[in-house]
């Protein structure tokens, strides 16, 4: 009696007819020599082995570059209700469906549009003061609704607040938000901000 001649790929039956099938024998797997820790990922037409990639969706704007704040606005003063801008020539944007808006042709970011979802929102911002003062800031949407907690900086804060803004927010639809000043005293003029906002400020959104 001879062995069964059926094969699956290159896998042949043993004398009892059982076939130990390797992944390389499966028709929809295109596999090169696997490395430890790799997974099979669906490419759209086949399973291929590769290192796992993770769907971390985040956006980071403000990475310490140098640029004068006067390039970010035509205004000469910084006032309550103004939008704070962030400078970044290469923002890191891994949030699918989001967009970043900039001032004219500059790399000063004025607002971001986030798709529906849940987000951790973070911001750290610094300005120059003309005298002992303070500045509070938070995120607002295009209808001027507050969408985050508040951060505040300055040597003469009238309120207890963290210098760092960190919030959680659920957006049920695509939402455009901007970092907005809510309380201000003795913040220096736009011309006297120099590079400080560009070098020391950053915002980050983490989709969770």
């Amino acid at each position: 009696m001879s062995h069964n001649t059926y094969k699956i790929g290159t896998s042949e039956p043993d004398r009892e007819g059982d076939i130990a099938v390797n992944t390389t024998s499966l028709s929809d797997i295109t596999e090169t020599t696997p490395l430890s820790g790799q997974v099979l990922t669906w490419s759209g037409s086949a399973w291929t082995n590769s290192s796992a990639t993770f769907a971390q969706e985040f956006m980071l704007i403000g990475q310490g570059e140098t640029n004068a704040y006067s390039n970010s606005t035509s205004a000469t003063t910084i006032s309550d209700g103004d939008t704070l801008h962030l400078y970044d020539t290469s923002p890191i944007n891994r949030i699918t469906g989001s967009t970043i808006q900039k001032y004219l042709t500059t790399d000063w970011v004025t607002s971001v549009t986030l798709p529906a979802g849940n987000y951790i929102i973070m911001a750290s911002y610094e300005v120059e003061f003309s005298a002992s003062g303070y500045m509070s800031f938070l995120f607002k949407d295009s209808s001027n609704n507050v969408v985050s907690g508040r951060g505040a900086i300055g040597a003469n804060l009238p309120e207890n607040a963290s210098g760092y803004l960190q919030s959680y927010r659920e957006f049920t639809s695509s939402t455009t938000i901007r970092l907005t000043i809510t309380n201000i005293s003795n913040v220096a003029t736009v011309a006297n901000q120099g590079n400080t906002p560009a070098q020391r400020s950053s915002i980050m959104f983490w989709k969770v």
């Binding site: 790929g9 993770f54 980071l60 403000g62 310490g64 973070m122 804060l157």
Partner: protein, 189 residues
């Protein structure tokens, strides 16, 4: 004879691009979108400071250290640390190949007159700075700012948090004072 499938299809599910084939809790295969869970935070700490004092001279061009005695560590093995000049304080962080978001905060108590420290994430291997410059001060508990930085490392690199300027002597101190310090490197690849 044992028949086996000729395609790695799982149940009635149709995979989407970038989904992976893994092993589910019952030992069978399952299609899933990969997410980091227990190892998404590469390194984190919630330090408990002992009283420790430094002067401006010590800080300039030195690293902001942190104490790891009570650190909460979630490390997938891509981050190692080495002690700074004060022994129990960590000064350097060596990161393996990968993409990271660095998220770090510091606070301090002014020792004499209100002062300010500017500090930044520093790549000791390549002598480059990354992310925004953060500020501590000028008073005890305001404007404790945060560093955000994105790192895309194709080779292992060593980082520190380096003071770039200061205006007064400072004192790390948390006895009945709000500890406000953490260092995190999130893997994002």
């Amino acid at each position: 004879m044992t028949y086996k499938t000729t395609q790695a299809k799982v149940g009635t599910f149709t995979p989407a691009p970038q989904q992976v084939l893994g092993v589910d809790g019952s030992g069978g295969f399952a299609i899933a979108t990969p997410t980091r869970t227990d190892f998404d935070i590469a390194y984190s700490a919630d330090p408990e400071f002992a009283s420790w004092t430094g002067t401006a001279d010590l800080f300039l061009n030195a690293e902001l250290d942190w104490r790891t005695a009570n650190a909460a560590v979630y490390n997938d093995g891509t981050v190692t640390t080495s002690a700074g000049i004060y022994g129990q304080w960590t000064a350097n962080y060596t990161l393996g190949v990968g993409e990271y978001i660095c998220h770090a905060r510091w606070a301090y108590r002014s020792r004499t007159t209100p002062g300010t420290i500017l500090w930044r994430l520093y790549n000791e291997t390549d002598a480059t700075y990354h992310g925004n410059t953060a500020r501590i001060g000028p008073y005890q508990n305001n404007a404790a700012q945060t560093v955000h930085a994105y790192l895309n490392l194709t080779a292992s690199k060593t980082f520190s948090f380096r003071v770039t300027s200061y205006t007064a002597a400072v004192e790390y101190y948390t006895n009945n004072y709000m500890p406000c310090i953490h260092v995190k490197f999130y893997r994002v690849d």
